[in-house]
Symmetry: D2
């Protein structure tokens, strides 16, 4: 009930502050017999590191080296909990001393204070983007478990700073700058990003994620629909403010005649995003998330201190200028976690 | 894990098919001492009945009379489970015999079959909109429990068939045709609805919901954010394909300087929709949902039968031409259920 | 979290007070395709009715007629929630008026008052033995689902009023007076029961339950052991004060050499009760529960009223003189519910 | 659902094999502001170490040094997950090579193999008693959180090898050999233990646990009774085969007149063990557990290998001769975890 565990059957529990000794997690419920190594997890972790995309990232350089502590024996999972740890090695807490009593607009400073009556002012604590390293590690284990079943998840950026990609060429997206869906849009995004950086400002964008190979029949009716679970997983990512499935908000402007997908082989459209009545229909599952511009900006902002006195703040520190592309592997990881959990829950994976 | 229970502390379990003997539910966890009558629940149920809005509804007329079976003694809740039942009185199953072997496009017929290996072909079974009566009844109990704490939830329609309302005048919205946010838009919506009906087609729209009085500090960090819970609850409504919080998808096109809400008293903006870092900040909580056009249309559609043979279908029966306005009280109910559950979980309600 | 739901995958939610309009429940998660009728449930319900055993039961005569409301179509379960209702028809609440302000020793009157700040003084409310009718109905559905897998559960009385049965002849036990394990002990138990009744006093006893056909490998390690789940299920029955598995408390007095079961075919002993390390080993699962004498006795007792003033109470009303044999089908039902839930959770049942 | 998490509101997730790199856990849900240090946890861990009791323990010597990784800032908990790690430093896996293909009677070797299709044959893996170090660490945090509320839990041994303690003098029990309830019984227990050791055999016993300061009204009705939760927690300890509350199995032989506790001030008896109808009545909560003799004995035993071939086994390695006294702090820890979880769930702790 305290928000740090995801899933019931493939269950990821995470811990760790951005400036504490370590962060990590425990995965409970992974099938036995899955080949798993630290290198396999590390590969996905490296993709969410600062500087891994085209947009200049944070100045903070962490090795983010993952170590497995349990649940793996002779190179395969045993069915017992898989614990992993990522030690924090580059913690410059003193950067935060200056502004420790000011609430940063758009951040969780004030709401954490309201909830807990205290906060670890060294960085964002649990609200830091660093927390997502544990999600990506969990997603890497889920991907390893699902691979033999032909289930794959791909995420990429379809819009940045208001500039959409014209087409989606998903295959190489994770290796492109910005994880861009379309290589042709990269120059325009680079220009947009440079302008934002020069202004001390930040950008938002839209990430799309596609899950292929999900068997028809997966999902639950009524409250616990597959799309409801995806919405929960994706809206639970820090900077996400909107989630849509298939045609999403465009469906609200369509009519039944244009929005219904005729049931033909092969399918001619996928307005439903692969889900009908909360249950997968066998087509690819498609979702999009709206990522807000990160709130840490160098522009002076009006705020208050923790005692309620008016103040002005200019956020320094080492920050990304957009959650994109670092959020892209996190979006992918969350969808993997949803599918691993539900496939286990619904007995779709042997044994 | 089977999808028919919502919440953990204020927990609603529902049952019932559209053409079975009855539908109903059990609410477990309501505080003792809440004044509760059948009339109070009935009032909200009547708001989601066919014909309650301006758009011509289904021809099916159900009294939808609710009966309380337990958990209330001398006019107040006792803290034990509150069971309610709504008997089905108008079941014309023979309407469905003709098309019982055809899969309706945009419906859950095929996915239920894939999941369960069988289906109750008399109407939508659990996927029927009738199921939402139990949600509304649960929401009415939640509203009664929350009322003394000054927490209120209001929902209204802000767009229909692609035509947005220009302004939001929330106060009388539940009593207006379409639960329209703006009375001025009603004539345009009526014209749009009539045209759709004449074409045998259907319309989608957008519903907005606002929760006032939610205390700052409510919510959980990381996976179980308040906005994640709302997204889960709202995406779990049958026709919903998108959910956004605060500025939502518009935030993806904003910059940090324009999207951050300055922390000033009184607040000057609410782009965050009342939630930062997954936790309420004390401002009103604002969400919007995209409602797809209902898939039951009189236009001929390509489909297959349950054996996979190509076929054509024209959906008859007694159907709404839009999920709006009937979905509006359901949206409100789901937000009430989220808040009741979380407020109890986080010890925000005495005792 | 409110105690009225059992299980996560085969989930029974119950409701209803002994003197309200009805009691009943909702079963969510039952596999589709299980043959199920009201008559099948009714048979098990009739076994827990007053007067069904050898010991004179309560004077209250309820038909306890069950009605199915959902989840069954054409004689088989559909996979959707199965709701059932048992209307209360014989409610003589006035019996309770006289003592409504006195706390009955050994009863939950005082603790419910401490918890809820109020209580339904007409009978035991939710703490009434009548609540167990819903458990037995749920167990009947579980039994129907498990039958094709060769899993059966049998319960019988092995001790009453301090007099043990010499041997266990389980086959006809449910049809014998007291559900006695051994027909030879019945005359002694009848004499003991008559003496207790004459004295206005009540008796306790011990019930044994055996589950056959449970596959090796069922159960979870560490906290959620199969024996832990059984202990939870059985200790959650009103009058139960002790639970043991296999040799139980006798194991505390044995040594490793005598308590270990040699691993031979066929097995020569079952001190482990079919469970090792929390996981079934394929032998029959054996548990015993200690049932306290029911606290409603005609002997004058010292107590207080709800304001704390000393008082004397003689409990009248219509009460059993022992929870045995009515508790026997409840013990069986709880074990069935545990197994149905866990077998589904661990993907041991197709599909 | 995979057994390695305990509790929902004060939630302990554990990981680690006896012969892997480390073991540890994550506590989620602890209130903020609780003073917490590694030394405080270490003190309880030292009490469950080999050689801490009077009975000769295992030859394995582990420092069991705990390190805190998150959730504590400036000496107090922050409300975020508290992760701890205990590195394994003394792993002599080669001890197990000889018997790696033999199933040890009374152990979980065969059932783990049936469940997972593989096992980490180096020691007991997750079924090792070493796993309980994480439980004790979790209990230490629970104790710290509950201390300001006057809630304390004490456990001690009341019977060993069939020899009961005559009286209970709880105060110094944790520091006595065997955690004996009565210092006078120690010589007899030492003689019994020496005889068992000489014979290569092992002993069982009975541990009692008392929780003081639990507020009246704590607990849930029906399925989720406080005693049901305690039974679940205690039966989930490796060697435990029986659990009783208050008079327990003795209640089965009493009558209502002798077993009912009169409601008088001060109380004259506590047959109920502080729980009525599943809810605490304000008296001390009393439970007892039956601990089986540990199955690792030097006596030759009949068994099979993992392929089903008959074999004989003599278990070597470094093993305790009884689970007592090492199980005593584990029993205490589990009761602390139950109370911490339930007190948070029921809003009995501020805020």
């Amino acid at each position: 009930m305290s928000g740090n565990t995801f899933g019931s059957h493939f269950r990821l529990t995470t811990y760790g502050e951005s400036h504490g000794p370590a962060l990590g997690g425990v995965i409970d419920g992974c099938l036995p017999g899955v080949p798993l190594t630290e290198a396999l997890i590390q590969r996905d972790l490296d993709r969410r590191r600062p500087g891994s995309g085209g947009l200049t990232g944070t100045a903070r350089k962490e090795a983010d080296a993952v170590r497995l502590l349990s649940g793996v024996f002779e190179g395969e999972t045993t069915g017992t909990p898989i614990a992993f740890i990522i030690e924090n090695t580059d913690q410059r807490s003193r950067d935060y001393e200056a502004a420790k009593n000011l609430l940063r607009p758009g951040h969780a400073d004030g709401t954490y204070l309201a909830k807990y009556g205290r906060r670890d002012y060294r960085g964002g604590g649990r609200a830091s983007a660093r927390e997502t390293a544990s999600r990506v590690a969990g997603g890497a284990v889920a991907a390893a478990m699902l691979a033999p079943y032909g289930i794959t998840v791909t995420a990429y950026t379809v819009e940045l700073g208001g500039i959409p990609a014209a087409v989606v060429k998903a295959d190489d997206a994770p290796d492109r700058p910005f994880c861009a869906a379309d290589p042709a849009v990269i120059p325009a995004w680079e220009a947009r990003a440079k302008a934002a950086m020069a202004a001390g400002d930040s950008l938002g964008g839209i990430v799309e994620v596609v899950a292929a190979g999900v068997p028809a029949g997966l999902g639950e009716p009524v409250f616990d629909k597959l799309d409801a679970r995806l919405a929960y997983a994706l809206m639970g990512i820090g900077a996400v403010k909107g989630v849509e499935i298939g045609s999403g908000f465009a469906a609200a402007r369509a009519t039944g005649a244009t929005n219904n997908d005729p049931i033909v082989t092969p399918p001619e459209s996928n307005h439903a995003g692969g889900i009908l009545g909360g249950i997968a229909n066998g087509q690819p599952i498609v979702a999009r998330v709206a990522v807000k511009p990160i709130p840490s900006i160098a522009v002076p902002q009006r705020t208050t201190d923790i005692h309620g006195n008016p103040a002005q703040i200019v956020v320094g520190g080492r920050h990304d200028r957009s959650a994109i592309p670092r959020v892209v592997p996190v979006v992918r990881a969350m969808v993997l976690l949803v599918l691993a959990d539900l496939l286990l829950a619904q007995r779709r994976l042997a044994p």
